[in-house]
């Protein structure tokens, strides 16, 4: 089975990797996993495109042999009636059947569902967050999951074939700015992802088969998403976290590719899983240039299947596809940013951000809602400023009296219920997209009237990671935690007291060529070195094995609540790679994947006033789930010693030249007639001064008196010698000039 899948992957890979990063990559994605190259050729033929696919050029021999008859028939009779190539069916049907009506009935009952939602949220630093949330649900069916109406067939087959219980795949470009864009809300905990590709999956197979299933899954996903996920197949690239990454125990595998470039060729297959793709509905907003222009772009696929049911009936699958982008609205008054009014939030509309409008919902979607999320603190500020009665936030928001104005009236206003504190809670305005159509497109705009300030809610600690040390030999990794609420230490659910503890989970994977010395772990709390045992509550380390497995560290820290800063350092040595293990562009450096920092005692939950519309909305119900607050650190770039890759050839050439010289001179010495030569030398009339000089030198070295050559010969020599000297000087001057001017 493994082989087959690999073959499938290989067949598709050239198409994907060879694809230029054009904005419209759809035409590259056609025969996605045809392991059978012949089938691909056939398809091309049936499309009437007769260019042979380049990936199969090598096997042209074979193909010509096997399909030559049909190929030539097609190409020859292309312009003739296609009777020969595309055989038509002339099955006779009874006229009754032709006349009979296609009477239809409305479908109801337990069906596959699809929901689409979009959350818009202005960010404190004048950017806008757009969070697309598509949810497809396939109910458990007795049809063995073979027949689908809305749910993507590919995903369902993937889940069945690889017994995936839970899986998350994310493609991210850019880094989530935890300090400005928030680190506590559900979006940052769930949708802020490390750069590149991150994949983790939980399998429903015995422990000893998990690795095999993981490898097959990576290859399949690689074909499905046109990405090099198949590099995660190698055991040096993935790890099996036990408890720090997810609470789900057991058959979990986790791998990241920090350097994977994410672009439109990854988005297109992702969109393919949506029933309406980007043809209609909210996904129609996804204008490639505008979303890839943004500051942060993360497309994510999360699926769960309740695999506990017996194998006969296939489990239901819930597929959640989210796309999170942070964009900078280019407001017309952007020039005023530099002229003192920098605190003015830019006004924006959907069409100004994305360059498109929503012309109605995707007809297949059960619900199609756009939410606008605003921080409540804005209103409190308004209240202070305007001294309005705090009666209704909703009317206040759009009635025109407050600091902002929405171009459309919301259909629903949902307030976050947060009893304990004011800060961080927010208001959601919901808009039903189904009310809008092509003649009246949905184009939500937000206009600010007054400068407003607010800050996003932060995770208890800011985590950042950096490298220490210099040189190509060794270094150290440091993870630094800084208290986010140093300014307002009263916030947070816990009050500062002696018994209060802040739990921090650290999960870090380090590739094997970074040889981390785990014994060198040091911990600094409030800039003071402290014994490890005081703070590290639980630690699990699996050291790396060369070329076999990466090093993994899971750690549970318990820090006092009033900690200002904490730092962990680990020393490492840089390893050497074999020459063929170097990636292309090895001089760029090597990535250490992001560490995952989570806070088990903090949960990012939105307490919304429960309502029917909320319960139906997958996005909001997702927000209401209890999730650990989680953040990712930076990806580190470690420069490793890279050899000069042409060195083997240089060495070969030099050694060979030396050997050749040695050999040649040895041979010469062996067949030389010394006596004869000496005689000749003595009698030599044409001996130049150089040779004389040389022989003199030789004689000096030997310590013997030089036999003076005959006088006449030395007399005739100077004439030639002068010329030669002139020539040599000329050449030398030329060489110097060349050297001088050419550089």
């Amino acid at each position: 089975m493994t082989i087959q899948i690999r073959k499938g992957k290989r067949a598709t890979e050239p198409q994907c990797l060879g694809s230029q990063r054009s904005l419209n990559s759809e035409d590259l994605l056609f025969p996605n996993q045809t392991g059978d190259s012949k089938a691909a050729v056939y398809f091309q033929l049936s499309n009437g495109r007769f260019r042979p696919p380049p990936a199969h050029r090598l096997i042209a021999h074979h193909i010509v042999d096997t399909i030559a008859p049909i190929f030539f028939r097609v190409s020859r009779t292309m312009w003739l009636p296609l009777r020969l190539t595309l055989l038509l069916l002339f099955l006779l049907l009874s006229p009754r059947a032709l006349l009979r009506s296609g009477s239809a009935a409305v479908v109801s009952g337990e069906e596959e569902e699809f929901h689409e939602e979009l959350l818009l949220k202005p960010l404190p630093d004048r950017k806008v967050l757009a969070h697309f949330h598509f949810h497809s649900i396939a109910p458990p069916s007795k049809s063995n999951g073979r027949h689908h109406h809305l749910f993507p067939k590919a995903i369902s087959q993937l889940v069945q074939k690889f017994r995936v219980k839970e899986m998350e795949l994310s493609f991210t470009q850019g880094r989530w700015n935890y300090e400005r864009w928030g680190g506590f809300d559900p979006i940052s905990s769930n949708n802020a992802k490390p750069p590149g590709v991150e994949l983790w999956a939980v399998f429903d197979v015995p422990e000893d088969q998990v690795d095999a299933y993981w490898k097959n899954l990576t290859n399949s996903l690689s074909g499905l998403f046109c990405a090099s996920i198949n590099f995660l197949e190698s055991s040096t690239m993935y790890s099996a976290p036990k408890w720090s990454f997810r609470i789900t125990p057991g058959r979990l595998r986790y791998g990241t590719l920090p350097r994977e470039a994410v672009c439109t060729e990854n988005l297109t297959p992702w969109l393919k899983l949506l029933p309406c793709r980007d043809k209609a509905g909210l996904a129609a907003l996804l204008d490639r240039p505008s979303i890839y222009k943004g500051f942060y772009h993360s497309q994510r696929l999360y699926l769960t299947s309740n695999a506990s049911v017996p194998a006969e009936t296939v489990s239901g699958i819930s597929l959640e596809q989210t796309l999170t982008v942070v964009l900078q609205p280019n407001s017309p008054s952007s020039s005023s940013i530099h002229s003192g009014e920098s605190n003015f939030q830019p006004s924006w509309s959907l069409s100004s951000i994305f360059g498109r409008k929503i012309s109605g919902k995707c007809v297949l979607a059960q619900s199609s809602i756009v939410y606008l999320q605003l921080e409540k603190s804005i209103f409190s500020e308004q209240k202070d400023n305007m001294d309005n009665g705090p009666n209704s936030l909703a009317s206040e928001g759009f009635a025109g009296g407050s600091g902002f104005e929405m171009s459309l009236d919301p259909d629903i206003v949902i307030e976050e219920e947060n009893q304990s504190q004011h800060k961080g809670s927010s208001v959601l305005y919901g808009f039903w997209v189904e009310k809008y159509n092509e003649s009246q497109p949905f184009d939500l705009g937000l206009k600010w009237k007054y400068p407003v300030f607010w800050s996003s809610r932060q995770a208890p600690l800011h985590a950042s990671r950096f490298l220490m040390g210099s040189g190509n030999e060794r270094g150290a990794i440091a993870i630094l935690f800084k208290s986010a609420n140093s300014a307002d230490s009263s916030s947070g659910s816990r009050h500062v007291s002696d018994g209060c503890e802040l739990q921090v989970d650290v999960f870090q994977v380090v590739p094997w060529y970074i040889k981390v010395y785990y014994h060198s772990l040091q911990i600094f709390v409030d800039d003071e070195a402290k014994p490890i045992g005081d703070f590290v509550h639980k630690i699990q380390v699996s050291p790396s094995k060369d070329k076999t497995s990466p090093g993994m560290m899971e750690m549970l820290l318990k820090l006092p609540c009033d900690v200002r800063s904490a730092a962990l350092t680990l020393e490492f040595d840089k390893g050497f790679l074999h020459i063929d293990e170097y990636p292309p562009d090895a001089n760029q450096g090597y990535d250490i994947p992001s560490a995952v920092i989570s806070f088990p005692s903090f949960h990012s939950v939105m307490h919304l006033l429960s309502n029917d519309s909320i319960r139906k909305s997958p996005l909001l119900s997702r927000f209401q789930e209890k999730n650990r607050v989680q953040s990712y650190t930076e990806v580190l770039l470690v420069p490793l010693t890279t050899p000069d890759f042409s060195m083997p050839y240089n060495v070969i050439t030099i050694t060979c030249t030396v050997f050749a010289l040695f050999f040649g001179s040895l041979l010469n010495v062996l067949r030389r007639r010394v006596g004869e030569e000496e005689r000749y030398l003595k009698a030599g009339k044409k001996k130049g001064w150089l040779r004389v000089l040389l022989s003199r030198l030789l004689a000096k070295l030997r310590g013997k008196p030089m036999e003076e050559p005959d006088q006449p010969s030395s007399e005739s020599a100077p004439l030639i010698g002068k010329k030669l000297v002139l020539k040599v000087i000329l050449v030398a001057v030329l060489a110097v000039a060349w050297q001088f001017y050419s550089t």
């Binding site: 056609f30 099955l91 297949l364």
Partner: protein, 613 residues
Amino acid sequence: MAEIAESPSTTEHPLGTVGASRSKASSSALRESDVDPKTMRTTTPGLKRLFLTFSVLLSFLLGFPFLWKTVEIYRSPLPFGDMDALSKQIESSPLQFPCHFQSVFLNFDSRSSGGILDPRELRSSILSEMTKLTSQTLERQCGSCGENFTLSVVVDSGDRACRQSDERHGNGLTPNCSYKCGALGALNLGDGEAVDEALRSALDESCSDYGGKLYTVVVVNGDGAGEGPKALVGKHRHGWISGRELDAEAMIGRMAEMFVKIFMNGGREDGAIHGEFMPVGADGRVVLSFSLLNANPDDWFYDWDFQKLDDTLLNPVIEALKPIANISVESQVLYHTPKSSFSYWDESLGSYIFSTKDLPFFVNSNEWHLDTSVAAGGRTKILQFVVYVPSANECPLSLQLPSGEISKTNGFISPMWGGVMVWNPQSCIKYSGSGPPARLLMHPDDLHRIFEVLMGQLRQLFGLKSDSIYVGAADVLSRQHTCFNLHSSGTTLGSLSRLVQSLPRMIIKDEIGKQVKFSLEAAQLAQTNASVGLYEASAASSRQARSLAEDAFFHPSIMSVSYFSFEHCFAVYSPFFLPVSLHVLLAALREWRRYKQEKAKYVRWKVKQVKAA
């Protein structure tokens, strides 16, 4: 290197350092002053240096093959001869299976046909008729029975007599496999199903697995049937001709036709898809992927209850095709999938028309994400069946045949890919209510009709002509599948052998060698099995031969071009061998030249000496 080819010029040292003492002894006859050192010498020229340089040169030359051997890349020895032989053999002589036919004449009274029916006579006349038919219809079709068939005739005249032609012992069948006299009682000829069942029980088919299948045609003379002779083919390996007052002689032609056209040939005629394009994967699996495409769901969109269709209608077909392929079914509904060809409005026909010329462009590979199945392995064949629901601005959409008529099925197939069918909703009026259009479910009758067309397409893709898939036809398909597999493995191995031979610096791993070997063995086995008549075993080993051959051909190490190319070799070794070989060659040349020169001098001196003497 100093130029020292010139001979010594001074008389003080007239001799080379070599052999100086000897020269003194030998130069007694002539005085030394007579010797002109430029043209002659008194001593024999030394061989030491010549020997040295030549031994170096020789050792280099000798060492070269060893070097060549060490830099040689590994190529597993492939049996090229066998591979070519197999492909040639399969090309030249298509596989033929033995078939056994049996004709039973039931209730033929000797009186009615005017004389006693002699089975032997009947046999020879049927045989001659059959050979006539085979020679005219078949051009040695692969997977057919060819001339490799036997026939036995039984005349069962009720309870009185049962005569058989005596050919049974020769055809490899165990005696109890053939028709037992009196096994068939009275048949209710009006009820086809009942007759079929009765024949099945009477003709025990379980034993026909060995030595080829036995096909029986029963001619029943009796009441209950219609007036004229009526020929029917049962679900299993038999058929019957029934009628009242039948003439045995007249039935001969009919019977021969039935044997040849139906049991030998699967009821197919020329012009159908060639048997080589059997859409079965090398692993013997086929995935039928059904897709319902809604071109524009904003106008309307349909859904189907494929599950029901699968259970009720598709399953029997899959069961029937089980001997040939392991078929699995999946379905999906796709939206926003416009076709990529254009259609135009035709007033007279009252519909939008796309013609046969547009068919190559109909399938829109950019928008139709039909998706090859993840569930299918690398070798599984996927057949796509697409039902296209046009959008409102191209509804109704019809296919115009070259003759100008509208196609009744509104569909077409593409061999080895699948089939497309256009289904027009009943009314092409665009939904204009408020809110988005609702999902519509296809009426079961419509679904049934679509299914009929799709099954027709499936039969066409498999190359079957008849309306239903019965065991006899499946046998034919199985034979053709075997033949196709063998053919494919033969061509694959043939081209592999050509490829490997044309690229001498390609690494051939042992694995490939093994695969080729096993593939050849499996092909041999399939051929021997086929010749004995073991259909299933033959099909299995032919499948194995094909998949192994393709494994070998598509082996990843073959796909990648060898890194250790000749250029690389040259670049690595030339810095050493180029200068050294220059040295060695030049030295050898010079020494040789000098030796000749010196030798000539010596000879000259010798001559002079002799003259002087």
